[in-house]
């Protein structure tokens, strides 16, 4: 059984069909990329998986759990973490605090214990910190550990957001345009990180990305979307060679 299975998902905003009868599945341990022109429904598909949007129809199954029975905040508990296209970090907090929020689903202490900061809270905090430090080492964020997000450059924020998602130790990582706005070097770093996330940490990655270099470099399978529907699915090379994909990007008669 696949880790994530989406069947016949449909979502409409008024008369606009954002996602139209979309089905795909992500296998455990693979990097699966979704590509497509602007407005194809890529981010909408992400928001459906995160339960920010309620689908009109379709089934969403993650590791045997029906996602539609969960609220948006319960999705993280299943082991799904995500990043956002336009970076949604906690601006008035340090990098460390941001990453620690990623540990929220692993908290075990109660309100009363936290008010008195019992030794157990302290031990838990140190455990969270240890997990976060692993992520900091992995992403080379050491120089920024105690910096406020508000003062950080765009590229670093992008990495911090990836780090926050990793800190929650997910099974499935949703990356919404991980390379958008990054320089060539930073994109290269991102590519290695995604490779390592899969190989070292064993985390399955589902990503939306426009940079075809990155997509063909890291992903096992690619799904091409246009107007909310599936256009093509296969290895990066197959999808890039698919006439329907070329037509969606470049227009009819380009081949």
């Amino acid at each position: 059984m696949s880790l994530l299975e989406i069947n016949n998902a449909t979502l409409k905003f008024g008369g606009v069909v954002a996602v139209n009868d979309l089905s795909f599945s992500v296998e455990e341990g693979e990097v699966y990329a979704i590509v497509g022109p602007n407005g194809a429904g890529k981010s909408t598909a992400f928001n459906l998986i995160s339960r920010f949007y309620e689908p009109f129809a379709g089934s969403f199954t993650f590791d045997g759990n029906n996602l539609l029975e969960r609220d948006a905040d319960q999705v993280a508990d299943l082991g799904i973490a995500r990043t956002f296209q336009n970076i949604e970090l906690f601006e008035h907090a340090t990098v460390l605090q941001n990453l620690l929020v990623g540990r929220h689903r692993h908290r075990k202490t109660t309100l009363l214990e936290e008010m008195f900061f019992t030794p157990r809270v302290r031990r838990e905090e140190e455990r969270h910190r240890e997990a976060v430090e692993e992520v900091i080492d992995f992403l080379d964020l050491q120089p920024y550990r105690n910096k406020m997000i508000a003062g950080l450059p765009y590229g670093v924020r992008k990495v911090v957001e990836l780090g926050r998602a990793l800190a929650s130790k997910p099974r499935l990582l949703l990356l919404d345009e991980p390379a958008s706005g990054l320089s060539v070097e930073e994109t290269q770093d991102m590519r290695w990180w995604i490779d390592d996330i899969r190989k070292q940490m064993g985390i399955t990655v589902l990503m939306v990305e426009h940079d075809m270099g990155l997509v063909s470099g890291v992903s096992d399978r690619v799904l091409a979307l246009a107007d909310g529907a599936k256009l093509a699915e296969g290895t990066p090379a197959e999808v890039q060679a698919n006439p329907a994909v070329i037509e969606a990007y470049l227009g009819a008669g380009a081949v």
Binding site: F52, V75, F84, L89, A93, L100, L111, E114, F117
Partner: protein, 361 residues
């Protein structure tokens, strides 16, 4: 410049980051305990007032500064705490139980109110909470049987295991009581900040979308913030009742709510220091103004609206020139000295934040 040399993760979460800070706050605490021997009764009363306002400020700061939910209704919770405490004691509950219970009752009332109210955002939330302030007045009048209505109530003398505390006849004992409550509330606040719930508060404040994606239940977290905030405010209200000596339906008015909010903005949103700095301004400004007025235009002349006018002006000036409040200014001055002569003018300048994901509301 001080360098923190950390050898364990515990160093980052302990109460005081280093010996220096520990000694600074230790001295401050020692000074606070020695204060009744250092200053006269009048000024001790004023300091007590500052501390009571600071507790109320901590309460609102938890909600507004930490969780980002504005409230113009906190006078209502001061009232609930005050009346709950007085009525419980009248029913024969000893102070040592009645006082904590008053805060907990206020917290639960706050939690009940939070469920519908916290669905609102920004300005609408502020309007809804104004309604609480207005309602509190009417409810106190309507429930005259318990609350004493317009004629008001007088809190009884505090007795803790036979030890008597009264604000007028023994101000230093009352001061110590307030000081202890202040310390407990500050510790609660500080402990929450360094634990998962405190981070969840900040997460809700800065980005509800990504807080949700990280597994933070928005409504529940806001509810907790509101409840805790009301609990602390309730304690401040009970102490305010003792401090005033008498209270009725008009004691905890909308003006008190506005003053509270103003206080934490002037002090510096999102910091414990801010609540204290703001309380100093709010508690001392009326005194300072009246002394100033007496010296400039003579004591016989009354200037209506002087206080509110000056308050308003201070608030505008702070929002324009120092949105981080007094605590923010203090941080800048401290950094300037620490880095001397390398501090740069724009070190604290905030760059415009990047476009946010559509807020999914």
């Amino acid at each position: 410049m001080r360098i923190h040399f950390k050898t364990s993760y515990h160093h980052d979460i302990r109460l005081f980051p280093d010996r220096w800070t520990f000694s600074v706050y230790g001295t401050l605490l020692a000074l606070a305990f020695a204060l009744p021997y250092l200053i006269g009764e009048f000024y001790l009363g004023e300091v007590t007032n500052v501390l009571i306002w600071a507790i109320a400020g901590l309460g609102l700061m938890l909600l507004t500064g930490q969780t980002g939910q504005a409230s113009l209704g906190h006078a209502a919770f001061l009232a609930i705490g005050c009346y709950a405490n007085t009525i419980l004691i009248e029913q024969g509950v000893p102070f040592i139980i009645a006082f904590p219970l008053a805060g907990i009752i206020t917290g639960f009332v706050g939690l009940l109110i939070a469920v519908p109210v916290l669905r609102l955002h920004g300005i609408y939330l502020a309007i809804a909470t104004i309604a609480l302030s207005v309602l509190a007045d009417d409810i106190i009048v309507l429930t005259e049987h318990w609350s004493g209505g317009v004629s008001g109530k007088f809190p009884e003398m505090i007795t803790i295991f036979g030890f008597e505390i009264e604000r007028w006849s023994m101000p230093s004992r009352f001061y110590y009581l307030v000081l202890v409550v202040t310390i407990i509330c500050t510790l609660f606040y500080r402990n929450l900040l360094r634990s998962p719930l405190g981070r969840a508060f900040a997460a809700v404040r800065d980005s509800e979308v990504s807080a949700t994606a990280m597994g933070v239940h928005i409504a529940r977290t806001k509810g907790k913030a509101f409840g805790l905030s009301c609990m602390i405010t309730g304690w401040a209200g009970a102490l305010m009742g003792y401090y005033a000596g008498t209270f009725n339906n008009e004691t905890f008015s909308l003006v008190i709510s506005i003053t509270l909010l103003m206080m934490i903005v002037i002090g510096g949103l999102g910091s414990i220091h801010g609540a204290f700095f703001g309380a100093v301004v709010v508690a001392f400004l009326p005194q300072a103004l009246s002394i100033l007025k007496d010296n400039v235009v003579g004591s016989g002349v009354a200037i209506p609206g002087l206080e509110t006018g000056v308050f308003g002006m201070i608030l505008i000036l702070f929002i324009l020139f120092e949105p981080m409040g007094i605590y923010g200014r203090w941080l800048k001055i401290r950094t300037w000295f620490e880095l001397f002569p390398f501090a740069r003018k724009d070190m604290f300048r905030r760059q415009k934040s990047y476009l946010k994901t559509e807020r999914l509301r």
